[in-house]
Symmetry: D2
Subunit: 328 residues, 4 copies
């Protein structure tokens, strides 16, 4: 029998949206609209807001034109206004600088700050529920939007993966200040953490940090949209093939988290995953699953060795990537 644990805190409800910088806004919108089957739900100068059919908020993706690809910001919604205040207070206690914003398309005021690696974060509570225009009204009222019978037809935003100098440092920061929970991690023989997977809710992960092989802080690895079935990921690969979308790796199954994945490059320069599967964590006292260096070396679940570019490339690109790739 377990000993009495402290009561778990849960102040974050879920990963809300991601802003991604693109070197070709129109082409990126085309990728998410035509290939992934998402909708443009809002626009602003230099930016487009997009959504998948099961996202309950108006947008889960903000695309912003930029000289370089990469992350704009990552936003989490809190469980309540009070939870938002508690998280801001926690950040203030630690001396983390931040500032309030009046909000953006689809959500209200938010607090913005940087993680130890320099990625921009945002937390907010006030939000809107998506109200579809007539042509996007669903047949079933428990569904936020009509299922788009176009392209992959991704369901909803799933997770974001950031590169970091020290995943452990960023993990501790998110555990302390957002009360996220570590669910799986890679622990190298030297005691450092090569990757950490965290979640705010029953999902087994919403945000991942993996070590940046180039030693550059603040870079972006990928974001992922969810589909219902593994077959949908295979179908996504068939569709990407027809559209000439570059596929970097997969479809295959991750050993860590057991997600079935396909990694592609969108035309604005960022790596995008389509995924299915994974698992829910029901145990309130779940212990993180720790993968050793030797276990990690076995490759993916069914034995595929991950391509070198996956471990090296991020956005924005840096010159060291080419040197490292040449060494493989």
């Amino acid at each position: 029998m377990a000993t009495v644990p402290a009561e778990p805190i849960r102040d974050i409800a879920h990963l809300g949206h991601v802003e991604m910088l693109t070197t070709n806004l129109d082409a990126s919108v085309g990728y998410f609209h035509d290939v992934l089957g998402m909708e443009v739900s809002g626009e602003a100068p230099g930016s487009a807001y997009m959504r998948a059919f099961w996202d309950y908020e108006p947008a889960s993706l903000k695309l912003t034109a930029s000289e370089q690809a990469g992350l704009g910001h990552v936003a989490f919604r809190t469980m309540s206004p009070q939870a938002l205040d508690r998280r801001v207070a926690s950040l203030a206690r630690s001396g983390t600088e931040g500032s309030w914003s009046e909000g953006d398309f689809g959500h209200g005021r938010s607090f913005q700050f940087l993680d130890p690696d320099g990625h921009q974060f945002e937390i907010y509570y006030d939000t809107e529920r998506y109200a579809p225009p007539p042509e996007l009204r669903p047949a079933l009222k428990n569904q936020p939007q009509r299922f788009p019978a176009r392209g992959v037809g991704v369901r909803e935003l799933d997770h974001v993966n950031l590169l970091g100098l020290e995943p452990a440092e960023n993990r501790v920061f998110l555990e302390e200040h957002l009360a996220l929970r570590l669910t799986e991690q890679i622990l190298l023989d030297d005691g450092s953490e090569a990757g950490v997977w965290l979640a705010s809710n029953q999902k087994s992960y919403e945000i991942v940090y993996t070590r940046d092989a180039t030693g550059t802080p603040g870079r972006f690895h990928h974001l992922a949209y969810l589909v219902d079935e593994r077959e949908d990921v295979l179908r996504a690969a068939d569709i990407c093939l027809e559209y000439g979308v570059e596929m970097e790796s997969g479809p295959h199954k991750h050993a860590i988290q057991q997600t079935f994945f396909l990694y592609t490059w969108e035309p604005g320069g960022n790596r995008i995953e389509v995924c299915a599967g994974g698992y829910l964590i029901l145990d309130p006292a779940h212990e993180p699953v720790v993968w050793s260096q030797a276990e990690r070396a076995k490759g993916q679940a069914w034995g595929m060795q991950t391509v070198a570019s996956f471990h090296i490339k991020g956005t924005p690109p840096v010159p060291q990537e080419e040197e490292l790739l040449a060494g493989h």
Copy 2:
């Protein structure tokens, strides 16, 4: 923008297990082992404890030999010991009688009480994590047990459906005393509730009450095990056909909750569902989806009219069922 809500309470972690009474214990064990692909993890005089491969506790099903089929009890695990105390205090305040048990196979002390309809409930916190014997050890360490390549291969306990005289009364009881959250409901033109779906976590439902057409209190409708893909439900139907298992309805898709289902009758007399799909509720202020009498009359998602027996039969069986069925 939403108004400031009260902070949501979450004291229940998840549906833990269900005890089901069977008129043929050996045949029921055979159904769950051979057809559904579950394992017997424990035994007691007159009872067998069974588990699906992704259940993290030792058992999600207790089968107990009985003169009549039906529900033994429904158990929920709390988020913490403190949450258990809070729930017991809430029940005591309302005058609900209950008693402490020392625990059962796989979990520690629990508090037992009846819902307004007379179904037996149990809540507990202390539990064990399943430790598989060598032949059931999984290849991937983030998985509780080896995937059984036998029969349907159900993943984990999904939900339980109880019949009730007044679903609304039972709903209010679970909202107040277990802090469960209503996610969908059927609201008839006369203002009564024909069905209510509730959850303790991000799942869109774990327990359902639907109105007992025979006016009998305390009966059981079905329990459901989850599979990963809709194809697995189709494959389950192929397997049931070969095993001579009676299929009552499906495979088809529910409009409510959008679950893809197959209802079967296990040889001990109870209705068992194999399901896939559904959705997660990420919004902490999610409003219940209300289906009107007219909307409900449209049948299932793709138009199939549900067979009459589904709306009438429960366990234990009562004579009024035959009269009602004859009227269809």
Copy 3:
């Protein structure tokens, strides 16, 4: 060990295309283009020619505007010019009237005749291979056309089902004059045949006759397009739901032929099936599978009783249908 059989004749290569009459040509084209994901490959006054992405000829469907829905004609391609001559000679020997046509969009000269029930048939050998325009060129050269990531995305024409006064009479006609092979049949207790399934190649069926419950000769029951996976049929139902397409029956699995099916009504008045599965017949001396009246009464593979309209309605509609439906 088998006795020495006569050498099997195979003069027909495959079901080539179907002409269907529609009361609303534009709406029918919209259904096949938007919902099923087919392409318009040709046009003529009052007609549109359409194709699925894996059809190797330019069109598998000719839609022709008409006062009433129903069959235009059914066309089979022969194995060779010589085979075409042999089949025409066989028809002539039996006194069947027919006439040569110069061909139509996508294929060359053809011989046209009626089956005993009065359905229009056509056989031809000369044909074209589809040459896609640039925007429909496939990524893989062994595929006739780019996979359309739109709607259901049906693969290719699968089969056609005709209603007949006496299925047996039509079966004998196709066996004798087209050398088609009976693969499955329903044999009623009175010795008559309620349904016959025939094929020209390894497919287990390409054309079906079922008895017309209204006693009207020459009517059309449905045509079917194939998808790769059962999941694609489920996805088709999700898409039809969003498009407001009427679904008559399914998704479910036929006992006969084991096809996984969904029957819908297209807006021009005809019943259209989306199907997956079935089987190949490799045995050159395959014996037809005979289903008795009692076996047939068991319903579909997993126990669903087929809706009455499926056994009664055909196109063009006749007044007797309503009387028969009222009797159910």
Copy 4:
């Protein structure tokens, strides 16, 4: 319009069975029974006969204990006794030596001969239809055997792949003497053929020759069993992972033939594929699809580069394999 072709000859009905040599008969039987879900239908000293549930003949695989892994023989069934005589006459005319056998478990007399590379072939017509024992009787009478809800549950023998010094020479031999038809091929810049895919029926291939990288004649590459859905191949990978079966490559999709594949090594030393998909060839005048050296270099359909061992290893193993692998 096409010019008038000669009438196609079709004397071979289908790939009938394969005899495979195993260094560990018991372990091989265990692999095919437990992991692939096949049945042992017959036994002889040193051999076991096995079948998949949709094979209509008693066995599609003969496993024979041997010092070295590799091919025993490949057997094709003819369309008729007359076709068998024609094929034997054709072989005799070319001076190919061969001999009649009285038959083996499940089939009657057969003619045995070698291909140019020295692989043992067999052709036969007389055969038995599988009559299942009571415990293997199917629920649906159009199915040869009960669906085994065990392991992968493969459906039927799909194809065999042989290594050859010159695939072109073997292709010409099979075209001339078995009247098989070339459907796809790899044509290198030097005009030689690196791989040829042939079929006797509407299937797009039943037998493949690829060039032996070690320059050894008569070796075996793999045989393949078919499953219905791509998801079944993914599930096969999950099962192989749990059973500790070595997976060499996949799941992924071939560009050539578009088959979705998983290659594994069975414990008796041979490479075994589980596959889904592919396509039917309905056009009686289908032109082979020719892949150039440059097209082939693009890797598999979705871009995965095939592992070196796939292009080098065969059975029986030869020392040159290690040298070649070291060079990669």
